[in-house]
C-alpha cells in the first residue's frame, strides 16, 4: 500500500530560497499535510508550515500544490500518480515568512476596514427574530474558514501589489455582502462597498469561487448581488433624486 513519493518543496525566507527535493513514504488514505508532517518528523524538523484542525475547518494549511491554491489537509495523495513529483509552494499572493508560511496580515488589516455589524437600536438581546430563509443567505458566507485562498488567487491583487490598497478582496467584499444581507443589520453598506472597498475592481471571473474549499458561491451569491444592489443605490436616477430631496427636507 505504501510507496515512496517525490516532493519538491519551496524552502527559504523573505531574503532567499529555492526548491528542495525529498523522497518520502506515502500510505493509504493520506493527504499532503500528512506527508509534510512526516518530512518534519524524519527529514526536516524545522520545515515551517501552518496547520490546526486537519479537517478542513480552520483554514490554516493553505499552500499551492502543483500550482493550485489548496488546503493541504484536504488534498488527498490518491489524486496524484505514484510517479509524479508533487510541488508544494507557499501562497504566492502574500510575502513569505519561512518555507510554506506566509505573512497574511493584509487580510487582518482589510478585516478591520470593514464596518462591523450594527445591531438594531431598540431590539434588546434575546428579542432578535429572524426567519431561517432570511438568515440562510448570510449563513452561506459565514461558512468561510478564512483560508485566504480566494484572497491569494484573485487576479486583481495576485500580481498587482498596487491594487491592494484600494481592494478588500473577495473574502471581505463577501463580508460586506453578508452584513448587507443580515436581516437586522442597521447600516447601509452599498455605497461604501463601491467607494471604499473596491467592489468595482471585481470583474467576476470567479477564480475565488473556484478555489473556495467550502464551496461558497462567492461571485454568484455575494459579489454579483452586491454589485446589483450598488447599481440600484448609486446609479439609479430615481433613487439618486429621492436621496437629494430627502436630504434637503
Amino acid at each position: 500500500m505504501s510507496y515512496q513519493a517525490r516532493f519538491r518543496i519551496w524552502r527559504g525566507d523573505a531574503d532567499s530560497g529555492g526548491m528542495a527535493d525529498f523522497e518520502v513514504e506515502v500510505n493509504e488514505g493520506e493527504v499532503v499535510l500528512d506527508i509534510i508532517h512526516r518530512l518534519q518528523a524524519t527529514q526536516a524538523s524545522d520545515l515551517a508550515v501552518r496547520w490546526n484542525c486537519k479537517a478542513g475547518k480552520c483554514g490554516s494549511c493553505s499552500a499551492e500544490v502543483n500550482g493550485m491554491p489548496r488546503l493541504m489537509c484536504m488534498t488527498r495523495m490518491n489524486t496524484f500518480t505514484e510517479q509524479e513529483t508533487i510541488i508544494v509552494t507557499p501562497l504566492r499572493g502574500f510575502p513569505v515568512i519561512r518555507d510554506l508560511v506566509t505573512d497574511v496580515s493584509f487580510n487582518y488589516a482589510k478585516a478591520r476596514e470593514i464596518p462591523s455589524f450594527a445591531p438594531p437600536k431598540d431590539v434588546p438581546a434575546g428579542e432578535y427574530r429572524m426567519q431561517q430563509t432570511d438568515v440562510e443567505r448570510s449563513q452561506e458566507f459565514r461558512k468561510c474558514i478564512e483560508c485566504y485562498l480566494c484572497q491569494n488567487t484573485c487576479h486583481v491583487v495576485r500580481d498587482h501589489e498596487e491594487n491592494k490598497k484600494a481592494f478588500a478582496g473577495p473574502r471581505y467584499l463577501m463580508r460586506i455582502a453578508e452584513l448587507d444581507m443580515h436581516p437586522l443589520d442597521a447600516r447601509d453598506r452599498k455605497r461604501d462597498a463601491q467607494t471604499s472597498h473596491g467592489l468595482g475592481f471585481c470583474n467576476i471571473t470567479k477564480c475565488c469561487t473556484e478555489v473556495c474549499p467550502e464551496h461558497i458561491k462567492i461571485t454568484d451569491n455575494a459579489l454579483i448581488p452586491m454589485k446589483e444592489r450598488v447599481v440600484d443605490r448609486v446609479y439609479d436616477p430615481l433613487v439618486w433624486l429621492g436621496s437629494k430631496i430627502r436630504r434637503r427636507a
Binding site: 525566507d13 500510505n27 493509504e28 488514505g29 493520506e30 493527504v31 500528512d34 518534519q40 518528523a41 524524519t42 524538523s45 524545522d46 520545515l47 515551517a48 508550515v49 501552518r50 496547520w51 490546526n52 484542525c53 486537519k54 479537517a55 478542513g56 475547518k57 480552520c58 483554514g59 490554516s60 484536504m74 488527498r76 515568512i97 519561512r98 518555507d99 508560511v101 505573512d103 497574511v104 487582518y108 478585516a111 478591520r112 464596518p115 462591523s116 455589524f117 445591531p119 438581546a125 434575546g126 432578535y128 427574530r129 429572524m130 426567519q131 431561517q132 438568515v135 448570510s138 449563513q139 459565514r142 461558512k143 468561510c144 474558514i145 478564512e146 452584513l179 443580515h182 443589520d185
Partner: protein, 635 residues
C-alpha cells in the same frame, strides 16, 4: 545579568489563549476599561473552538418551553456524576441563555425556529432540545462572532483615539512559556513570537488562562497541535493547583478510517438528529448498555426510542443519546468483543434514518468531511466510528464566581479550568462554558486589577533570564545523545493512549508513570535543528515540557482514584464508589515534584439539592451523607 528580550509590553490584563473563552474574557476586560492583550498560539480566528460542531447548550426554552436553568443544572450534574462544582454548574445553567443571546448582538446568525427564535437541537444527556447551533459548524460561528466583536471594539477605539490597539491588542502566533511572579503574585508572562523566534515579555498584574486542553498527549485525538496543556502546566509551575485530571473525555465518535484521519471528530449531532449505532451484527447495541442510574430516562425498545424524536412527551429517549462516557465505553466493549466494523470501530448510520437532503442540510460539514477524506457518502452508507480523545474535564482549580486560581492574579476559564463538568462533560456544555466563564474571568481579572489600586507586581530580571535559558535549551549541546522532539512526542502519545487511555488498570498506569520518568530524562536532551524563525521542531521541543507534566498529572490521579466514574474507567475498580463522589484529587508542583492530595468536593446548597429526588441522590452519595440530608429535612 543580560537578557535578550527586546520586546516588552505592559497591560492590565493578559489573556493567554484566543479560543472562545479567551476572546470572551478579553471582550469583558476591555469593556471593564482594562488595557487588554490576547495571546494566540495560532493565527487569530483559528483556535480549536472552531472545531466544535454541535452547539452551545442554553436553557432558552425556544423549542420546548418546559426547559429551565434548573433542568439544565440537573442534567449537567448527572452528566458529571455529581462530581461537578455545583456553584459552577449553577452559574453556567443560569447565565448561558444571556451569553448566547448576547452573541446575536455581536452579529451571530444561529439557525432559527419557525417563529424566528434561535433553534435548539437534542444532544446526549440533555433532557430537552437545548443546543443553539448553526448546522454542524457552531464553533466556527462562535469564534468568528467573537473575533468580529473584537475587531468592532478596535474600530471604536480607533474612532475615539486614533489607535485601534490602544485598549485591546491581539498578539497572534505567539507562545507563552513561563508565568512570572512577584512574591507569589502574577507579574507577567514570558514567551516568543513564532515567526521570528524573538522573545517577548508582557508585564501584567492579571493573567487569564484560556489555553484549552491536553489532547495532544494522546495518539488518537480530535485535538489540534495547540492542545499541549500549556495553561495547565503554566498554572502548576506558578504555584496553582489542578483538579479532576483523571477525567479525560473520549468522544465516542471519531473517524477510524483512513489512518491519517483517525480521531477526527464526528459530531454528536448525528445521533441527536436521529443517527443510530450498530455493531457488525446489525444490532443497536446501546440498548444493552443503559446503566442503572439512567434507566428512568432512556428507552427500553427501539420502537420507543424512535417514537421519541417526534413525541418526546410520551416516550423515553434512545440510548444513543446517553452521556459520552457511557457511549464511548460501550463502543470500546463491542469492538473488544469482536463485533466491530472492518476498521476497528462500529457503524454510525444516519443514511437509513433521514432523507439525503435533510442530512446534507443538517450535517453539511460531516457530509463534506466523509466524502472528501474517506470516500464515504453518509447519505447512502454508514460511517465507521470509534472513541477519540476529545476533552479534559480536569483543569485549574478556580473560584466559581471569579474564576480566580490559587495564585493571586491568575484566572482560568474554559477547558483549562476544572470543576464545571465534574467527571464527564455533556456535549454542548463546552461552548456555553466558554462564554459564561470567559466573561466571568474578564470581570474577575478586572476587579482584581482595580483592587490593587495603582500597585503593580514587578518582574525580576533574574526570572526573565531564567525563562530565556529554558526557552533556548533545545538549541544547546545536550549531555548525551540528542533526542528528536517528534519521535519523543509520538512515543508519549502512544504511551498515554495505551496505558492511560479509555480503560485503565493499576499495573498499566504504574508502567506509564515509570515510562514518563524515562521520557522526562530524555526530554532534557531534546534538540532543535535550524534557526529560531518559525521553527516547528523548536516549538514542539518546548511544548513537550508541558505535555509531559500534564500527562504525569493524568496518570497520577488515575492511579489514585480507585473507582470508575465518567471519564475515568478502572477495569480493576468497576462501578462508582460513593466515597469518591465527595473527593477531588488536587495536584500541585512542589520543588519540581508533582504532589497530590484529596480534598472534599464543594457541597451543594440545599435549594440545589432539592432539585433532585432522594432516590436518585441515594445512588450517588454515601449512606452517611444521605442520612444527614434526610435528617436535615426532618428537622
Amino acid at each position: 545579568m543580560t537578557t535578550t528580550t527586546t520586546q516588552r509590553h505592559s497591560y492590565d490584563v493578559l489573556v493567554i489563549g484566543a479560543g472562545g473563552a479567551g476572546l470572551r474574557a478579553a471582550i469583558e476586560a476591555r469593556e471593564q476599561g482594562m488595557r487588554t492583550a490576547v495571546i494566540s498560539k495560532s493565527l487569530f480566528g483559528k483556535a480549536h473552538t472552531v472545531m466544535a460542531e454541535g452547539g452551545a447548550a442554553a436553557a432558552m426554552g425556544n423549542v420546548n418551553s418546559k426547559d429551565s436553568w434548573q433542568v439544565h443544572f440537573r442534567d449537567t450534574m448527572r452528566g458529571g456524576k455529581f462530581l461537578n462544582n455545583p456553584r459552577m454548574a449553577e452559574l453556567h445553567a443560569k447565565e448561558a441563555p444571556d451569553r448566547v443571546w448576547e452573541l446575536e448582538t455581536y452579529g451571530a446568525l444561529f439557525d432559527r425556529t419557525p417563529d424566528g427564535k434561535i433553534s435548539q437541537r437534542n444532544f446526549g444527556g440533555h433532557e430537552y432540545p437545548r443546543l443553539a447551533h448553526v448546522g454542524d459548524r457552531t464553533g466556527l460561528e462562535m469564534i468568528r462572532t467573537l473575533q468580529q466583536k473584537i475587531v468592532s471594539l478596535q474600530q471604536d477605539d480607533e474612532r475615539e483615539s486614533g489607535d485601534p490597539e490602544k485598549f485591546l491588542r491581539v498578539f497572534h502566533e505567539t507562545t507563552i512559556t513561563d508565568l512570572l511572579l512577584d512574591g507569589g503574585s502574577v507579574s507577567g508572562a514570558f514567551g516568543y513570537f513564532r515567526d521570528t523566534g524573538e522573545f517577548v515579555l508582557f508585564e501584567a498584574p492579571a493573567v487569564v488562562l484560556a489555553t484549552g486542553g491536553i489532547g495532544k498527549s494522546f495518539k488518537v485525538t480530535s485535538n489540534s497541535w495547540e492542545y499541549t496543556g500549556d495553561g495547565h502546566a503554566l498554572a502548576l509551575r506558578a504555584g496553582g493547583t489542578l483538579i479532576n485530571m483523571e477525567f479525560v473525555q473520549f468522544h465516542p465518535t471519531g473517524m477510524v478510517w483512513p489512518p491519517s484521519v483517525k480521531g477526527i471528530l464526528v459530531t454528536e449531532s448525528v445521533r441527536g438528529d436521529g443517527g443510530v449505532l450498530r455493531n457488525s451484527e446489525n444490532r443497536r447495541f446501546m440498548f444493552d448498555y443503559v446503566p442503572e442510574v439512567f434507566k428512568a430516562q432512556y428507552a427500553d425498545t427501539e420502537a420507543e426510542g424512535d417514537r421519541w424524536y417526534t413525541d418526546p412527551e410520551n416516550n423515553k429517549r434512545p440510548p444513543e443519546l446517553l452521556p459520552r462516557d457511557e457511549v464511548a465505553r460501550a463502543i470500546n466493549s463491542e469492538v473488544k468483543e469482536g463485533r466491530g466494523s472492518p476498521h476497528g470501530g462500529v457503524f454510525l448510520d444516519v443514511s437509513s434514518r433521514l432523507p439525503a437532503d435533510v442530512i446534507i442540510k443538517k450535517l453539511p460539514s460531516m457530509h463534506h468531511q466523509f466524502k472528501e477524506l474517506a470516500d464515504v457518502d453518509i447519505t447512502a452508507e454508514p460511517m465507521e466510528v470509534g472513541p477519540t480523545c476529545h476533552y479534559v474535564m480536569g483543569g485549574v482549580e478556580v473560584d466559581a464566581d471569579t474564576t480566580a486560581a490559587r495564585v493571586p492574579g491568575l484566572f482560568a476559564a474554559g477547558e483549562v479550568a476544572g470543576g464545571m463538568h465534574g467527571s464527564n462533560r455533556l456535549g454542548g456544555n463546552s461552548l456555553s462554558d466558554l462564554l459564561v466563564f470567559g466573561r466571568r474571568a474578564g470581570l474577575g481579572a478586572a476587579d482584581y486589577v482595580r483592587s490593587l489600586g495603582g500597585r503593580r507586581p514587578a518582574v525580576a530580571e533574574a526570572d526573565l533570564a531564567a525563562a530565556e535559558r529554558t526557552a533556548l535549551a533545545p538549541f544547546g549541546e545536550p549531555e548525551g545523545e540528542p533526542e528528536n522532539p517528534y519521535a519523543l512526542h509520538a512515543e508519549l502519545q502512544q504511551t498515554m493512549n495505551d496505558l492511560v487511555g479509555i480503560i485503565r488498570r493499576e499495573a498499566e498506569v504504574r508502567e506509564a508513570l515509570a515510562t514518563l520518568d524515562r521520557y522526562d530524562a530524555r526530554a532534557r536532551r531534546v534538540r532543535a535543528t535550524g534557526g529560531r524563525a518559525f521553527n516547528p521542531g523548536w516549538h514542539l521541543a518546548l511544548d513537550l515540557r508541558n505535555m509531559l507534566l500534564v500527562s504525569r498529572c493524568v496518570a497520577m490521579a488515575a492511579l489514585e482514584r480507585t473507582e470508575s466514574r465518567g471519564g475515568h474507567t478502572r477495569e480493576d475498580h468497576p462501578g462508582m464508589d460513593p466515597y469518591w463522589r465527595g473527593i477531588n484529587i488536587v495536584l500541585a508542583v512542589q520543588d519540581g515534584q508533582v504532589t497530590q492530595h484529596r480534598q472534599p468536593v464543594p457541597a451543594m446548597r440545599p435549594d440545589l439539592l432539592a432539585l433532585f429526588d432522594r432516590t436518585e441522590l441515594g445512588r450517588y452519595v454515601t449512606t452517611a451523607e444521605l442520612a444527614a440530608l434526610n435528617g436535615e429535612e426532618s428537622r
